[in-house]
């Protein structure tokens, strides 16, 4: 590492960049998630494209100062080219040696690194497992290091605010955030407003945070030698009103909007599990909108209460992650058999078993499509970005209620916790939802009588006069709806349930792909890895490569034109965060094509760079 003064000559002045990746990293008690979120809100409100990637430790309080306890928040923002939260930071804020250590291998060349000089004592270095001080021993050669005495300067800045030491210590993150605001020439009013509002009742805390923020800002401003300040122009976007939204929040709001469009109350039966809990917590706030939330005694009760609510006429949802999904399996079969509308949200995380609770993975796809006893078809959808969670949730409710079927909606940790600007949708812009409700006595009606187009049965809810009937998990007669063990009837009902789900393909949009005219390589992805796959292919196309990408939100059934897209390419490579589940599914349903695979199962999202490398390799063959 060179002293800053030596670098200042080359590094002064503003650098205009298309997009920048910043990572805030520190001990899980250092407030990095808050710093990252506040920064994101500011850049979003000022019109940048953004994508975020919060990365939590699994333990709520791992030993302080250790690598296991590092919490990170990565935000990618810019005027264009923001496909996902970025491969590696351009700017790293490391509040202690452990935070630096856990990010060392991911650093981009010539990265700007902001560290708290005060937290690099011998004990801190020991806890992080550094034998020597990385700020001194050449580890950071080639990077631009801004080693500010953050702890002591924060304390000095708020010395007379009347706070105890511990509370004062908690303002360090705001000092660092102030520094970052200055580096990127961003206004602080949004963040200042946040503290004024949040700590209305304890003005001294608000004041301390704001002072720390300003002190950090001024520190960078007055330093003679600043490595670089960056400016990023606002993104070019379609006109409209935007807000910053996480995947889980968008999903919760989409569920509310979908139920409203269906003209029904929303019921959620759920049990807390990372990374799905936020959806329940968000919905629990909105009793005013007629949302009923039951925090059940376990995941089985979560889904079973939802099935009961669906029987009785609510739009019913259950939310969970992999282990909870496993518990819900039998009840999903009940919803298949009774042909009740139900939305099952699985925010995937690393598995199997408890696996990697806070890390992302796409390894529950086959469980969703096939993982039940008996022939038990359901519709499977997947959300591609945080904002898209809204649309998928609305669509899941539309399909579930109009087709009288369970719908599994797959999200993933990366999408659920990530954030991006969402162009706010008015309810009027959303598709109408018409559940096949029957409220009047009809002599032609039978419990399993079907709509000729969708094959959906009617939704007749208890309380409806003269239409009393019984449903249940035992096979029912196709005509009368009474229990039947007749062999012909069972085979007919198995086929009907399958066809009903397959026919959903007549009602979903056609599959699109980017890369008209390309022939050589088709990149296939699904779910939450949209941003990076799209980004990598876009970059390669701008380099003149013969490559295209198609990304699936509709997993089961597949869009009708899928085969006609696949047929246009010499090679197909399926990229996913598992060992090849979508590829194997495609081999089963569209066996006429050969599928290459690119897989990653590290609990981490794809990086644009590794994808490009792989695609270049395939293109060179």
């Amino acid at each position: 590492m060179k002293p800053l003064e030596e670098m200042s000559g080359t590094m002064n002045g503003k650098e205009a960049m298309e997009s920048v990746v910043i990572k805030f990293a520190g001990d899980s008690g250092d407030g990095m998630q808050l710093a990252g979120t506040l920064f994101t809100d500011t850049v979003a409100v000022h019109g940048k494209e953004i994508a975020t990637f919060p990365d939590f430790p699994s333990e709520i309080r791992a030993p302080q100062g250790t690598v296991a306890g590092v919490s990170g928040f990565q935000v990618h923002f810019g005027s264009s080219g923001v496909h996902g939260p970025g491969d590696a930071p351009d700017v790293l804020v490391a509040m202690n040696p452990a935070a630096l250590k856990s990010n060392l291998k991911d650093l981009r060349p010539a990265c700007t690194i902001v560290v708290d000089r005060d937290s690099f004592g011998k004990r801190d270095l020991d806890k992080a497992g550094f034998a020597t001080d990385p700020l001194e021993d050449g580890t950071l050669d080639g990077h631009q290091v801004l080693a500010a005495p953050i702890t002591s300067m924060t304390k000095a800045a708020i010395a007379d605010a009347g706070l105890d030491n511990k509370t004062a210590d908690r303002c360090k993150n705001m000092f660092a955030l102030g520094m970052v605001y200055r580096l990127f020439d961003q206004p602080m009013d949004q963040t200042i407003g946040f503290f004024q509002h949040k700590f209305k009742k304890s003005p001294s805390i608000a004041e301390a945070n704001i002072r720390a923020l300003k002190a950090g800002h001024n520190y960078v401003l007055t330093m003679e030698a600043v490595p670089a300040t960056y400016t990023v122009q606002p993104a070019a976007r379609t006109p409209g009103t935007y807000r910053n939204i996480t995947g889980n929040q968008a999903l919760a709001w989409g569920l509310m909007a979908g139920a409203k469009k269906a003209g029904k109350d929303l019921f959620l039966g759920s049990y807390p599990i990372t990374p799905a809990t936020d959806i329940m917590q968000e919905l629990a706030k909105h009793k005013w909108a007629g949302v009923k939330v039951l925090q059940a005694e376990d995941e089985i009760a979560g889904i079973c209460s939802a099935i009961g609510a669906s029987f009785a006429g609510d739009v019913a949802v259950t939310t969970t992650s992999g282990p909870g999904m496993a518990l819900k399996t039998e009840a999903i079969g009940l919803a298949v058999m009774t042909e009740l509308p139900l939305v099952i949200v699985n925010v995937q995380r690393g598995g199997p078993s408890t696996g990697l609770p806070t890390k992302t993975e796409q390894s529950d796809l086959l469980q969703a499509v096939w993982g039940r006893n008996g022939e038990s078809p359901v519709v499977v959808l997947a959300a591609s970005t945080p904002a898209a969670c809204f649309d998928r949730a609305v669509e899941a409710i539309k399909i579930a209620t109009e087709h009288m079927t369970p719908v599994i909606l797959l999200s993933e940790s990366y999408v659920a916790n990530g954030a991006e600007p969402w162009k706010v949708k008015a309810l009027d812009e959303l598709p109408a939802i018409h559940p096949p409700v029957l409220t009047q006595p009809d002599p032609a009606w039978t419990p399993y009588g079907r709509d000729p187009a969708t094959l959906a049965r009617k939704w007749v809810v208890p309380g409806t006069p003269a239409l009393q009937h019984r449903i249940g998990g035992l096979e029912k007669d196709e005509c009368t709806g009474c229990v039947s063990h007749d062999p012909q009837n069972h085979e007919a009902m198995v086929a009907l349930r399958r066809q009903k789900v397959e026919r959903v393909a007549d009602f979903i949009p056609e599959q699109k792909f980017r890369g008209k005219g390309a022939k050589k390589l088709l990149v296939v992805g699904w779910g939450g890895q949209f941003g990076t796959l799209f980004g990598a292919v876009t970059e390669l196309r701008s380099e003149g490569k013969d490559i295209a990408v198609t990304h699936f939100n509709h997993i089961h059934p597949l869009p009708r034109n899928t085969a006609s897209i696949f047929a246009q390419f010499e090679q197909i490579v399926v990229c996913e965060l598992n060992s090849g589940q979508f590829a194997n599914y495609l081999r089963a349903v569209l066996p006429q094509f050969t599928y290459l695979q690119y897989n990653k199962v590290k609990g981490r999202p794809f990086k644009v760079s590794e994808l490009k490398e792989k695609f270049n390799e395939l293109l060179a063959q």
Partner: protein
């Protein structure tokens, strides 16, 4: 929700609540009597067929909904309490009845059972206790008496059974009744009270399985012994029983005691008077615990006390939130807080908030 009085003219006769389905329980099974009692209760309560939702699990007893001309849902093993909770929350006007066996509600569904009791959802839970798994042909259940030889316990069980009443009271249950399947009149009466009670009402039926556990309740229910072995509780009445109605229950220290009227100067004034509505459940526990041969088995409504009802409280919270909400619509929510606007023809954002 129970605003039912006894109608002058019943809407339907008991038999008119039956569906057209052929009933397939074994001849002589106690489930028939339970169904008769339920139909009588519905008739007496004047229930409309469409306002009733009968939710069951899996087991012989759980076939119940198919035989009733109401709405019905034969769900999966152990989960009817959870399904029924969702039904009630979706539509509080429904009269929700859960029908479940001892295995269904106390083994695989034990967790849902105690949580339904704890939440106090306004519904009725009829627990068909035949102390055996009927449908799977005779394995021991969580209520099978210790030492019983069954197909899965050829040397007798070495497990302690649950006592349904104590479990319900331990989970803060507010309505618990016990009835024998041999007394249709008492069953019907108790079921009417269960429906009128606001909150979760558990009715344990001692139900004879003629095939796999015949006569386990004989000492309690047989003509010869039942008067001496059953104490039929009535709220506000002294606890008297016996073939000559000369026995009674009195409290001695922290324990109950069977006494004979006229002996040692004992009069009716010495006997306990049943108070089903008492807030403390200590005496209810003692009554639920009574076992042969030292004590008669307590029948009738052992406990019935008012308390916060989950679905009512949730509805009240929702109403209050609707009244004080700062959002007029979902659109207003979506536009609340920090937003920014991109104007047509510019790529600069304008304005925040």
């Amino acid at each position: 929700m129970s605003t039912i009085g006894t109608p002058a003219q019943p809407l339907f006769k008991p038999k008119e609540y039956a569906s057209s389905q052929e009933v397939k329980w074994c001849p002589g099974c106690g489930d028939y009597a339970v169904m008769n009692a339920v139909q009588r209760a519905f008739s007496e309560l004047g229930l409309k067929k469409e306002e009733v939702a009968i939710i069951s699990g899996i087991g012989c007893s759980s076939r119940f909904p198919y035989y009733m001309d109401t709405y019905g849902f034969h769900t999966i093993h152990g989960r009817p309490a959870a399904v029924a909770t969702g039904v009630k929350l979706a539509n509080r006007d429904l009269r929700v009845w859960v029908m479940a066996g001892d295995g269904d509600s106390l083994a695989i569904g034990g967790n849902h059972f105690i949580h339904a009791v704890r939440r106090n959802v306004d519904m009725n839970f009829i627990l068909f206790n035949n102390q055996i798994y009927g449908l799977t042909k005779g394995q021991y259940s969580p209520t099978t008496e210790r030492g019983t030889v069954t197909k899965s316990s050829p040397f007798g069980t070495v497990e302690n059974p649950f006592s349904v009443g104590e479990l319900v009271l331990g989970a803060q249950g507010r309505f618990f009744a016990r009835v024998p399947d041999t007394d249709v009149k008492l069953m019907a009466k108790v079921m009417v009270e269960a429906e009128k009670h606001q909150g979760l009402s558990v009715v344990e039926v001692l139900q004879n399985c003629v095939i796999f556990n015949d006569e386990v309740f004989d000492a309690i229910t047989s003509k010869e012994t039942r008067a001496d072995n059953q104490l039929i509780l009535e709220h506000g009445k002294p606890m008297r029983f016996g073939a000559n109605n000369d026995k009674g229950i009195r409290l001695r220290g922290l324990e109950l005691e069977v006494v004979t009227l006229g002996q040692n100067g004992i009069t009716e004034a010495d006997l306990l008077v049943h108070d089903a509505t008492c807030a403390s459940n200590v005496l209810h526990h003692l009554l639920a615990q009574m076992r042969l041969p030292d004590f008669p088995i307590a029948m009738g409504v052992i406990r019935s006390t008012a308390g916060p009802v989950f679905d009512a409280d949730l509805a009240a919270q929702m109403k209050a939130e609707q009244e004080r909400s700062k959002y007029a619509s979902l659109d207003a929510l979506f536009l609340s807080g920090n937003t920014f606007t991109i104007q047509p023809g510019t790529d600069k954002p304008d304005g925040t908030t």
